[in-house]
């Protein structure tokens, strides 16, 4: 190999890598990763509502909902909205009051977050649906008053 021919390319690539490495990895103060939200979202995606509710509760304790994109897998992202997903999971479990409470405190539902209009509309629609729905018992084996894992 003629190293002189490759030198400019090497220098350019080194600069690119250095530049990329120097970029801030995440917005200031925000955790680098959200493993509880990630696991909770995957559980939500698989219709495992109990697991989803548990992980979303843990995620919102760790970092409050901000609606910023969070990577789930590959190059697919979801808004970081643990409270919103908690509300949706509780609604699926039949815990209407707890679901309404979660959705009403969800940041994505309560205020304008850029690019999250669709989620906000869905959240507000779900609140309205739950609000007018007749009372119903929770799913079998679900204790809506418990905050931890339910079997």
């Amino acid at each position: 190999m003629r190293s002189s021919q490759l030198l400019p390319g090497r220098c350019l690539l080194c600069l690119l890598f250095l530049g990329a490495a120097c970029l801030p990895a995440a917005p200031a103060g925000r955790p680098e990763r959200h493993p509880d939200f990630e696991v909770g979202f995957l559980a939500f995606d698989d219709d495992h509502w109990l697991m989803a509710a548990e992980k979303m509760r843990a995620a919102e304790v760790r970092w409050a909902e901000d609606g910023i994109s969070t990577r789930i897998t590959d190059r697919w992202f979801e808004p970081y909205a643990p409270t919103y997903f908690l509300g949706r999971a509780l609604a699926k479990l039949g815990c209407r009051e707890q679901a309404l409470a979660a959705l009403r405190r969800s940041a994505i539902c309560q205020r304008e977050i850029r690019g999250r209009g669709a989620e906000r509309a869905a959240c507000q629609g779900l609140i309205e649906t739950l609000r007018v729905a007749p009372p119903a018992p929770p799913a079998p084996g679900v204790d809506c008053s418990r905050r931890g894992r339910q079997r």
């Binding site: 021919q5 690119l16 995957l42 994109s69 850029r114």
Partner: protein, 489 residues
């Protein structure tokens, strides 16, 4: 398969029909394939010593624009639909059905033999040079042969896949272009030694002062139509297997002209001396075996993969078309074109939601290309026992290093990512190291290549789109890819 050689003066014979034994081999090939794949059986390999073959470009880089931009480092990450080809074990990472498409436009700078201009050199307009000084072929000096810049552009749908994932397994259907190479280049007959004469056949010889002027056309396509699957094994492990029917089409034609010793060739008026062709059209099985492990938090992933290259038959022919020569020959042979096996290891590291890096090490067994190499010219037959020196052709296996980094701008409503990568591609040219200076001139080593790549793209809720560019001194690749996923809500 050993080359079968016949020397037939006058009219052309029909190609030999496959023997019963060969048909039996074909029938058993499918059943033996999976076993051979799992046992990592040895690959045979062959092309021919036709000059046109010296610039074939295989596309072993992973499909998908973002993976191209990562410097091709994707074995360890392997978490999108292109994993169907790169490392099928990674298909298990896909959550929803997806369709992925990629368009690639590849510029390959093929070679022409030409001499550089200096004080003792006068060049024709089209860069073919006439050297007035006597000098030996020596690639290490500025007076040696240098590569030209005949450029070939191949825009193509290079990858298409559909992935259907379930919780413990995933299935993919895909189409992948392994080779899409088209070249049309002319050589003007480079000078090796001015004190020597030249052979009237134009076939490279030991004592040539100037090589024949060639008009080359080549079209080579190898397209894989495959099905891949992945199985979640637990504890972060997954296993993947992809089997594909590889559709091979080869058509090359090299026309040889012998202009007057000091003249530039005029391809329109010069008499054609002889023609060499290679033709193949076949479908064979190939496959990929992959393994992937991911840490419990998804921070670290490792991958290993083995690609088993298919092997295709082709017909090679060399015939004299110049009525002025006493040599009336029509030489037909059967050869095999072998796609090299390749295997690799990869690492993916997710430093944060916003940043991840990937590193791969691949080994491509290019040396398989020289096994059972056929002598398309029939030198031993035409020239009373001349040694074609087929054992003096070689190709080095290549150990490639790939590295890339990807950064996501998460605050953007639609996340945008920037990618950069580099990879090192050792020279894998077919090289001749025998006494025949004509072959030494045409089959000579080239420089190793360092590729640099960049990419950018965005990911909406259901759609991703990426564009990437890979640059090296001999290739330029522009890639566009899009992914659409199908969500329930």
């Amino acid at each position: 398969m050993k080359a079968e050689e016949t020397l037939t003066p006058g009219p052309s014979p029909t190609p030999p029909a496959p023997t019963t034994r060969e048909r039996g081999k074909k029938a058993r090939a499918s059943a033996a394939f999976v076993l051979a794949l799992l046992l990592g059986g040895l690959a045979a390999g062959a092309q021919s010593n036709l000059e046109t073959n010296s610039g074939i470009h295989f596309n072993f880089s992973p499909p998908g624009a973002p993976n191209l931009a990562l410097g091709g480092a994707f074995i360890g990450l392997a978490d999108d639909a292109t994993a169907a080809y790169t490392n099928p074990a990674g298909l298990i990472k896909i959550l929803h059905p997806e369709v992925t498409t990629e368009l690639r436009r590849t510029h390959v700078f093929t070679d022409r033999g030409l001499l550089p201009s200096d004080a003792n050199t006068a060049c024709f307009e089209d860069r073919a040079c006439w050297c007035q000084a006597q000098h030996r072929l020596d690639p290490g000096t500025s007076l040696g042969l240098e590569d030209g810049s005949a450029r070939d552009t191949v825009p193509a749908l290079s990858f298409l896949s559909y992935v259907y994932p379930r919780q413990r397994w995933a299935l993919a259907l895909y189409r992948h272009e392994l080779v899409n190479f088209e070249a049309r280049f002319r050589t003007f007959g480079p000078y090796l030694r001015l004190s020597r004469s030249r052979t009237p056949t134009g076939i490279p010889g030991d004592l040539d002062g100037r090589l024949a002027s060639l008009d080359n056309r080549m079209r080579l396509d190898i397209v894989n139509y495959g099905v891949g699957g992945a199985l979640r094994l637990g504890r972060g492990w997954s296993l993947g297997l992809a089997l594909s029917a590889s559709d091979f089409r080869l058509a090359t034609r090299a026309e040889r002209y012998v202009p007057a010793y000091r003249d530039a060739p005029d391809f329109a008026s010069l008499p054609l001396v002889n023609v060499q062709t290679q033709e193949g059209d076949a479908v064979r099985l190939s496959g990929t075996l992959g393994l992937r492990w991911e840490s419990s938090g998804g921070r670290l992933s490792l991958g290993a993969v083995y690609h088993r290259g298919p092997s295709f038959p082709f017909a090679a022919r060399s015939r004299d078309v110049d009525p002025a020569t006493a040599l009336a020959y029509d030489l037909r042979q059967q050869g095999r074109f072998h796609v090299p096996d390749a295997y690799g290891l990869g690492l993916g590291l997710r430093l944060s939601d916003a940043l991840r890096v990937a590193v791969d090490v691949d080994r491509v067994e290019y040396s398989a290309l020289t096994r059972d190499l056929i002598d398309i010219f029939g030198l031993a037959t035409l020239f009373a026992g001349r040694d074609p020196e087929l054992d003096r052709f070689h190709v080095d296996d290549a150990v490639e290093l790939h590295a890339g980094v990807e950064y996501f701008f998460l605050r953007s409503p639609v996340p945008v990512s920037l990618l950069a990568g580099a990879w090192y591609e050792p020279d894998h040219s077919l090289v001749f190291e025998g006494a025949n200076e004509g072959f030494r001139a045409m089959f000579r080593p080239r420089d190793d290549q360092l590729h640099g790549s960049l990419g950018v793209g965005f990911s909406a809720r259901r759609v991703q789109a990426y564009v990437a560019y890979d640059h090296s001194p001999r290739t330029r690749v522009l890639s566009l890819s899009a992914v659409m996923r199908f969500l329930d809500d």
